[in-house]
């Protein structure tokens, strides 16, 4: 059950934080409030008036505005068009562009949310898009603003700006529901906290009296121990990248990237999405060979542009989006487990006929070993939960004992148990001698799991520093494109 008998109340001028781990039902709850989903039972009251269920229109009219985790903007339309859609009767003869622009400009100055109303959304940065989303809600005179994981895509500094904006908004009498799974953010911004677990409210308390540990325990129930790194002697270099550049001029093109990862080592790459991490991941996954520079795996050139050869050369790949890239949902589990080595003698006879008996018995072993909860190798893959699907991907990537593991956002969207499982698997692989490249937007994850951290910004990769040498604030500044030297200057000025 996604939501179970939830009661919540919200007052003007306050920020209510909704805390819960992935899959706890936060988003479902908010989508019910906003009329995207229908609740099976219960009601939503705004100012004492009951909202009709399943009507976004009614929610908006009642003054609810929502900033979704995945932005709901049309890239090829202008900011103004995105904001004014639905604000006029659909059957008006013309759009009142002038008035709308004036209102928007006044509003964005009022709240300090500056964007050009006439540019296409596709030309905006992530932070600017979020501003548009907030303006969209404010433009429609929202009095209750719901923000779903708003900091997931921001740098720490951008997050701080957002917090300042939100505080300013509440001063004008608006109420905010702030959804997050990050404890420190919630403690910093909210006035009241409601904790959601398995679809039910398990705790509700004033922020001033809230304790970090107490919240964590409420959120996950019996505390799950996140795995920790243990010291180990580094081995020989496994991955050596030098002078790597890709064509193109955008933020996603790589520019002179250098990186070495040794055996028994996890190197983390931090950065805001869209700064070239995917380009690097695609390249190491064997999806493209358009680059200059050298990429060597175990002292041999990586067979770029050929995923099968890359896998055969000892790379285990965990893709960023397990639904879109990791698995073919409509295929059976055993079929997905053989997709990377279809033509190997282990799977097919002379690379032509698939031996389903061999494939299925191997799949059974992998399911067992990686503790995938399913009815068997012939189950349809898309029926699996996110965590089980990720275990399947781990099974495919790790059972060949790869020397390099490319883990791209490996725990995104997973619940606490699955996160611990995935992280443990990565640490065990490190213990066995694998070199691991961990790409993540979650700085806490990087801080606890890596030996060294590098930051990617507009296709450039900083020199990896031993984890712990830099503070989260320093890494955050680098994610926004300021190098740590500038940061040090800033510090000395403060003194």
């Amino acid at each position: 059950m996604a939501n179970d008998a939830i009661s919540l109340s919200l007052h003007a001028g306050e920020i209510l934080a909704l805390l819960g781990e992935n899959g706890a039902g936060k988003t479902t709850l908010m989508n019910i409030l906003f009329g995207h989903y229908r609740a099976d039972e219960g009601s939503v009251l705004v100012d004492g008036q009951e909202l009709p269920p399943g009507s976004t229109q009614a929610a908006i009219q009642a003054g609810i505005g929502m900033v979704h985790q995945h932005f709901t903007l049309a890239d090829n339309l202008t900011v103004l068009e995105n904001i004014t859609l639905g604000t006029q009767s659909l059957f008006a003869w013309r759009q009142n562009q002038k008035k709308a622009r004036a209102k928007l400009v006044a509003m964005s100055e009022d709240y300090g949310l500056v964007v050009d109303p006439d540019v296409l959304v596709s030309s905006l940065s992530v932070g600017e898009r979020q501003r548009v989303e907030i303006l969209k809600a404010l433009y429609r005179d929202a009095r209750i603003l719901i923000l779903d994981e708003p900091t997931a895509v921001l740098t720490p500094q951008e997050s701080n700006n957002l917090f300042a904006t939100l505080k300013a908004i509440t001063k004008k009498g608006l109420a905010i529901i702030f959804i997050s799974h990050k404890l420190h953010e919630i403690l910093a911004i909210s006035s009241r906290i409601a904790v959601l677990r398995r679809g039910a409210i398990v705790g509700s308390l004033e922020t001033v009296v809230a304790q970090r540990e107490q919240l964590a325990e409420l959120m996950v129930g019996a505390a799950v121990a996140r795995p920790k790194l243990t010291a180990i002697e580094k081995g020989k270099p496994v991955l050596e990248i030098s002078g790597l550049s890709t064509q193109g001029t955008g933020a996603t093109a790589l520019k002179d990237v250098n990186l070495t990862i040794r055996a028994h080592e996890i190197v983390g790459i931090a950065g805001v999405a869209g700064n070239g991490q995917s380009t690097l991941a695609d390249l190491l996954s064997g999806l493209t060979k358009r680059f200059s520079g050298s990429v060597r795996l175990n002292a041999v050139a990586l067979p770029a542009g050929d995923p099968r050869a890359v896998v055969a050369a000892g790379v285990g790949r965990i893709p960023e989006d397990r639904h879109a890239r990791g698995m073919v949902g409509e295929m059976e589990i055993w079929e997905n487990l053989i997709s990377e080595d279809l033509r190997s003698p282990e799977i097919s006879n002379s690379g032509i006929i698939i031996s389903s008996s061999k494939s299925k018995s191997r799949a059974e072993r992998q399911i067992e070993e990686f503790d995938v909860r399913c009815s068997g190798p012939e189950a349809e893959t898309k029926l699996l939960s996110g965590g089980n699907m990720q275990k399947l991907i781990l099974a495919r990537a790790l059972s060949r004992d790869p020397t390099l593991i490319l883990a791209n956002q490996p725990v995104r969207g997973l619940d606490e148990g699955a996160i611990a499982y995935v992280q443990n698997q990565l640490l065990q692989a490190r213990q066995r001698g694998a070199a691991i490249l961990l790409v993540s937007e979650d700085l806490d994850e990087l801080m606890s799991l890596t030996d060294r951290i590098a930051v990617m910004f507009q296709g450039q990769l900083s020199d990896p520093q031993p984890t712990g040498d830099q503070s989260i604030a320093e890494i955050g500044l680098m994610m926004a494109g300021q190098n740590s030297a500038a940061l040090n200057e800033g510090r000395s000025l403060d003194h």
Partner: protein
């Protein structure tokens, strides 16, 4: 070659071009409206057939001409609704549904025609729309005869282009249609029913297509023949890509094609002895493919074209 240039200077050539362009305009704009809302409508070929048959039949059974146009448009809207129920509400493959609609709609048109006229051996005729000479303007040399001595439906077609442009780009409903084709979730988040917008767009677009078909039997010719649409619907689909989903450019593209067709009819007469007529007839189809190749890499498809929207679906 000089023959060809002479053709280009005759009023008859331009008049024919403007006449031939009308069904292409209706069809292309109809497809454009559907695709702007995010729905590919491959039912176009069948819906044009339905329009051609039903408009003509209305008049043949004693109705008046404009009544026939309206009847054709409503039949088109009915098939549009069918397409929308399948692709918008049930989220089924737009490709396969469209082909299914074309097969069904054409077969049904022929069936109904045969039912109502079981014994007709030569196709019976109606009195079609007559040319209307616009005072003053039709006296201009060349242009007067080419543009201002056309039938009322041709004027309607030409008028439709700026109207569709205005509605799409200057009215709230147009914005909702375009947004539905770019990001349906964004539309839903603003409190507008995407399914309703898409359904309406597909129905209106299909009505346009049917009027395009009706033009052929009620203004261009005066009878209904089997296989009369002859791929015009598919050419319209190619024209939409060629036009980058822009009504103004759709007009330019349609004029190009109509000019080509008018030219080939005349060229057949002058150089037909050397080049078999089949090659002239091939030109529009080949040109459509070429047009798609030219534009393929440059155009920006509506981002949510072919993407069904299911409300409340947990991703």
């Amino acid at each position: 070659m000089s023959d060809l240039f002479e053709i280009l200077l005759t009023a008859g050539f331009w008049a024919a071009t403007i006449r031939i362009v009308s069904p292409l305009i209706f069809g292309t704009l109809g497809e454009l409206i559907c695709e702007r809302a995010g729905v590919l409508n491959l039912g176009i070929e069948g819906i044009m057939t339905v329009g051609a048959m039903s408009g003509w039949m209305w008049v043949y059974q004693g109705g008046d001409l404009w009544g026939g146009v309206i009847f054709a448009a409503s039949m088109g809207a009915v098939f549009g609704l069918l397409h929308a129920i399948f692709t918008v509400h049930l989220g089924l493959s737009q490709h396969v549904t469209g082909i299914g609609i074309t097969l069904f709609a054409s077969a049904l048109s022929y069936f109904v025609y045969r039912m109502l006229l079981p014994d007709a051996t030569t196709p019976p005729k109606i009195i079609p729309f007559q040319p209307i000479e616009i005072p003053w303007l039709s006296d201009m040399p060349l242009i007067g005869e080419a543009v201002f001595s056309q039938s009322a439906m041709t004027y309607l077609a030409l008028l439709t282009v700026p109207v569709v442009w205005y509605v799409l780009f200057r009215t709230p409903v147009g914005l909702a249609v375009r947004m539905s084709g770019e990001n349906p979730v964004a539309v839903e988040a603003q409190g507008i029913n995407v399914l309703a917008v898409r359904t309406a767009a597909v129905m209106v677009g299909s009505a346009f297509m049917a009027v395009g078909g009706a033009f052929i039997t009620m203004s261009w010719f005066d009878a209904f023949y089997f296989g009369m649409i002859n791929g015009r619907g598919w050419i319209c689909v190619a024209l939409v890509i060629f036009a980058s989903w822009n009504p103004g450019r759709a007009l330019v593209g349609a004029l190009l094609f109509a000019g080509l067709e008018a030219l080939q009819v005349r060229a057949q007469q002058s150089v037909g002895a050397f080049i078999p007529y089949q090659f002239f007839l091939m030109l529009p189809y080949v040109m459509s493919i070429v047009a798609m190749i030219i534009m393929a890499r440059k155009t920006k498809y509506p981002q949510a074209l072919l993407v069904p929207f299911r409300r409340g679906e947990r991703v």
